[in-house]
């Protein structure tokens, strides 16, 4: 039992790294642009499907194939910003939610039309092995996905805290009007933050594809997970997102050992409800924030 729990803990930490990676796009867009991107998981899934297409269809190297997916995510982000989000800058939350709900449906439907609803499993090539550490057995792909997420989140954290552009983004997040007063081009910067968030979401999709089989229509599950991570971790810090992801990953794995698998969902949704009740305002010390 103890070994099983230890195994679950390690699995959970790795899974949690992936969760952090796929929630950070959501956290960024919410924290900086105040957009509740409910199309997030649809982007994740289309990223995962594109990745699957490159790896399984074209036989690309699973590590290299991440790069074009992230770049395509960035371009998609620029496009969506121009086409939809741009018009929503001064609109009410209701309007933004409606528009993004429509966007979610559009992306999901495109995914279903192009890739059908079959469950997809990534062809892992050389990442398919299992690391055997005595009593622990860890799939290589999971280590790679978690490692990339960890690295990306730390890089984002450094970018936001140590560079001038990062400071400008944080400025935009805390007060857009004042940020524009001191010479930050708010429109241009928010365009790129939006695109960056979508690129992160696309990366999250590739990390997801490395870890679990997926289908286009069950993406709402990943939306629930991503929001859980964001709500637990609060906005504005990539590192807290990572910690929240790890907490959820560990809870999920450990519960999965102790109870039948369907209870995992109940426990995590219960956790979501409790977190909502407890942290009703002030997320992670950001009391004045809109979400």
């Amino acid at each position: 039992m103890l070994e099983q729990l230890l195994q679950a803990g390690v699995n959970g930490i790795l899974l949690g790294g992936v969760y952090g990676g796929f929630a950070v796009g959501l956290s960024l867009i919410l924290g900086v642009l105040r957009i509740v991107n409910i199309a997030h998981s649809a982007v994740l899934i289309i990223g995962a499907l594109g990745y699957w297409q490159l790896v399984n269809g074209l036989g690309l190297d699973p590590l290299l194939a991440i790069v074009p997916i992230v770049l395509l995510g960035y371009l998609l982000g620029l496009g969506v910003q121009r086409g939809v989000a741009h018009y929503l800058r001064r609109e009410s939350d209701t309007t933004v939610l409606l528009a993004f709900f429509g966007l979610m449906v559009v992306i999901e439907t495109i995914a279903i039309i192009v890739w059908t609803t079959d469950t997809k499993t990534l062809d892992l090539h050389y990442l398919g092995g299992v690391l055997d550490l005595g009593f622990l057995r860890v799939p290589v792909a999971r280590v790679v996905a978690a490692g990339l997420s960890f690295a990306l989140l730390v890089a984002l954290h450094l970018f936001l805290t140590r560079t001038l552009t990062g400071s400008a983004i944080r400025g935009l997040s805390s007060n857009r009007d004042v940020a524009e007063m001191v010479g930050i081009d708010g429109n241009r910067l928010s365009r790129h933050v939006f695109a960056m968030s979508i690129a992160f979401s696309a990366f999250g999709g590739t990390a997801l594809a490395l870890v679990v089989p997926f289908t286009p229509q069950d993406h709402l599950r990943w939306l629930a997970w991503a929001f859980l991570v964001v709500i637990l971790g609060g906005l504005g810090s990539a590192l807290r997102t990572l910690v929240a992801g790890v907490v959820i990953g560990v809870v999920e794995s450990v519960v999965g050992v102790l109870l039948p698998f369907q209870y995992t969902y109940l426990v995590l949704y219960g956790l979501l409800a409790v977190v909502l009740l407890v942290r009703n305002q002030g997320l992670g010390g950001l009391k004045a924030r809109s979400l």
């Binding site: 509740v36 409910i38 939809v84 018009y87 929503l88 800058r89 001064r90 009410s92 939350d93 209701t94 309007t95 939610l97 409606l98 528009a99 709900f101 429509g102 966007l103 979610m104 449906v105 559009v106 439907t109 495109i110 279903i112 039309i113 069950d218 709402l220 599950r221 939306l223 629930a224 929001f227 369907q262 969902y265 109940l266 949704y269 979501l272 409800a273 909502l276 009740l277 009703n280 305002q281 809109s290 979400l291």
Partner: protein
């Protein structure tokens, strides 16, 4: 003051709104709306008894959607709290009715109130967890709940798991009699729902909901008990959705988790209200007719279209509906009613 077409500059709009509205409002007589609604119901009723059986099924969908959407509109349209999980409340009603019927052999009219009660209980749990918070939380929570509902139902043996539940026919008789029975029941439900929506719009309760949408903290300061108002709106909507679910269960005779807890239904309900007009009691009625007719037409038309030599699958109709939602949200957020009726100068949305 037509719809602002996408322009983000609204400052002069706000400044002028009261003056322009005061100057240009020609008050329409109060009876115009009820007369239009009565006419729509009358036409639907007559069509139901005259058309072929296949077309009556379409009308049944219209009435089913109108019933749910009127309930949804209370919190979503007037209150600005979007419930993206209408399918959860609807499905709860459907499953309550189905299980009561298949395991306890309860009849149609006995299960109907209990189905509504079941949906109300679920809505209370959702509401207590999320309605004290800002509207995003509610929207997110209801959306992701669809997934949980399907998982729970699939794994509880009482609900038949992935195999679903079979439901007996509501009354004895031939096909046509059963269909007409369902049709009349839904017609009554839809009329009740519409009257409820009308009554809410013309009450302090409705005003409180609109105040919550406009500015929740301000409403609170002015003495609106925001949480309980929102909860009541959700509960009324849930009761209607649950009742509609029960009728659906008896109409189809068989329900299963994936088809019942389907985001498509939630989308349709939202779209109905947005196309018709959010926060207008007649909006869901007009939207219901338009959206369902459009949907049925797309379902027939799309398989005939081939793009680059590839047949478009049936899902493509959902694509059209999604795009429609984005377009209405961006450019016509008061829906079709908004084109016709001028809002009295009481509200300025930013």
């Amino acid at each position: 003051m037509a719809e602002r077409s996408g322009s983000p500059v609204v400052s002069e709009d706000i400044a002028l709104a009261p003056a322009v509205a005061a100057a240009s409002v020609r008050r329409r007589p109060w009876w115009i709306g009820p007369v239009i609604a009565a006419a729509i119901f009358a036409v639907l009723g007559v069509l139901g008894f005259t058309l072929a059986l296949g077309s009556v099924t379409t009308l049944i969908v219209v009435l089913l959607y109108v019933t749910i959407a009127q309930g949804w509109n209370l919190l979503g349209g007037y209150g600005g709290y979007l419930n993206f999980g209408a399918a959860v409340l609807f499905g709860t009603g459907a499953y309550t009715a189905a299980v009561l019927n298949s395991s306890l052999k309860w009849g149609f009219f006995a299960t109907l109130p209990l189905a509504a009660a079941g949906a109300v209980i679920v809505s209370l749990v959702i509401g207590i967890a999320t309605l004290r918070l800002r509207s995003h939380y509610f929207a997110i929570f209801t959306l992701v709940l669809t997934f949980l509902a399907a998982v729970v139902v699939r794994n509880v043996p009482l609900f038949g798991g992935a195999n679903g539940v079979y439901v007996a026919v509501p009354i004895d008789g031939n096909n046509r009699a059963i269909t007409l029975f369902v049709f009349v029941t839904l017609l009554v439900l839809a009329i009740i729902a519409t009257i409820v929506a009308w009554a809410v719009e013309h009450s302090r309760f409705g005003n409180a909901l609109v105040a919550i949408k406009e500015d929740e903290p301000a409403a609170q300061v002015l003495g609106v008990r925001t949480t309980s108002v929102k909860l009541w709106a959700l509960v009324i909507g849930a009761a209607l959705a649950g009742a509609a679910g029960a009728v659906y269960a008896f109409q189809t005779g068989y329900i299963e988790p994936n088809g019942t807890f389907d985001v498509s239904l939630s989308l349709d309900i939202v779209l109905l209200c947005v196309v018709g007009g959010l926060g207008s009691w007649i909006g869901p009625l007009i939207g219901g007719v338009i959206v369902v007719v459009l949907q049925q037409w797309l379902r027939v038309a799309i398989p005939d279209i081939s793009l680059f030599g590839v047949q478009l699958p049936a899902e493509a109709s959902r694509l059209v509906l999604g795009v429609l939602l984005i377009v209405f949200a961006l450019f016509a957020r008061r829906g079709i009613v908004g084109f016709v009726v001028r809002r009295r100068g009481r509200s300025v949305t930013v």
